[in-house]
Amino acid sequence: MDASDSTPESGAGRIDTDSTYYELYQKSVELGTWDAEKLVEKVGFEEDREVWESLADDEKEQWARVISYFIDGEHAVAQDARRIMTTVSTPWFDRSIEKEMFASALALEEAKHTQFFDLYLSNVMIDKFPQYELDTRRGGVQIPRTDACGAGKMFDRQGTLQAQAAHGGDPVDIARAATNYHIGVEGILARGGYFAKNRMMQEAPLTLLNKGFQFISTDEGRHITFGLELLEELIEKERQGVPEYQGVQNAIWEQAVEDIGYITDTGYFITGDIGDPLGVDFDDLVNRGARLAGDMLFDTLDIDNAQPRDYMQAAADAMEEARDNDYGEVIEKYDHIYEQKKQAAGD
């Protein structure tokens, strides 16, 4: 029998089944409960290992730079998900159970994304990650490549903003945290990464990695919709004149402008800095990021008094700075720090 025949027609009691947040939660149950271990068993590592071994060192390095920021990023957001659950259960959001339900699904999904990249990196790409196994919570640091680029700084910032929002933060703090996480990290940095991997897959088709990315980007799409819904709620209250919500749009804009610098730096780090052997094209990546940002900030949120020119200038400044950066020197510094921590952990 088709399960949809018994779909309930009306609400389920105290849960508002007409809520967008409920719909997002339900889609997480239907689409987000894929099993990372089963995916790995089903597709297997063999084909990816063969392609990986055929790549030149600079091509492996380009993949390693992309995957570094994905695994450290997924790990960071998995850790911060508990703070999002706290934030959306505050009176600023009317203590809605539907938001909490979705946030709990988000927490599981981010943990699963970390699990997938952990499995993949450990079984296919480990030759490019001699410094990987120390958990950041157990005395480790982010992967030196992540620390060398804007993504590492963005994840550090994310932790601070999410903590401020969850622990007594007001709507302005929440707006900053949600902008950084849902627009900056998930909406532009991660989606830019998907754009890059699509191009890189043409030269280096890593089938299992591509499948994992497809499931992950599907989950992240719901997270972004969730974040934009939260921000729209805050903006609406600001526009209604509720005193505690004044300054929300300004905070969103300031955070978006701050984050585009980190994102642009990361874009250059994974492309131009290493000669872009797998053909992503830094300019195309920047243009795609600008389009994504425009869709969210101007079309969806319709932020008042936001000047696209300021945003593009911040990106251009970051681009200029990135071209002068010596990322290799920073990676070496963090390699050294990592080795010290590893030795200390072994004592």
């Binding site: 997002l24 699509n198 980007s217």
Partner: protein, 86 residues
């Protein structure tokens, strides 16, 4: 929720008839109603927004999946079928 053949925001290579036939085949294989499959596949692409915004799936055919002919809707249908096995 958006109907799969009404979704916007990117270029498509398959006709609506081809999409509907592929959805019906998949629904028969999975033992599900075609409408339900269509809804889930649309949600993979648009996360409820009505516009294709799933960069990871919409641009993911990359010439490596000949079965989907680079149409994001067919690629998303493939993702959904695999998801049902996991």
């Amino acid at each position: 929720m958006t109907k799969l053949t009404d979704i916007e925001g990117t270029d498509f290579t398959a006709s609506d008839e081809e999409i509907e036939a592929a959805v019906e085949d998949a629904a028969a294989d999975l033992g599900m109603a075609p409408e339900r499959v269509s809804e889930e596949v649309a949600y993979i692409l648009d996360s409820g927004s009505g516009r294709v915004n799933n960069e990871g799936v919409a641009g993911a055919a990359v010439g490596s999946n000949a079965d989907t002919h680079d149409d994001p809707r067919l690629e998303a249908l493939d993702v959904f079928k695999l998801r049902q096995e996991l």
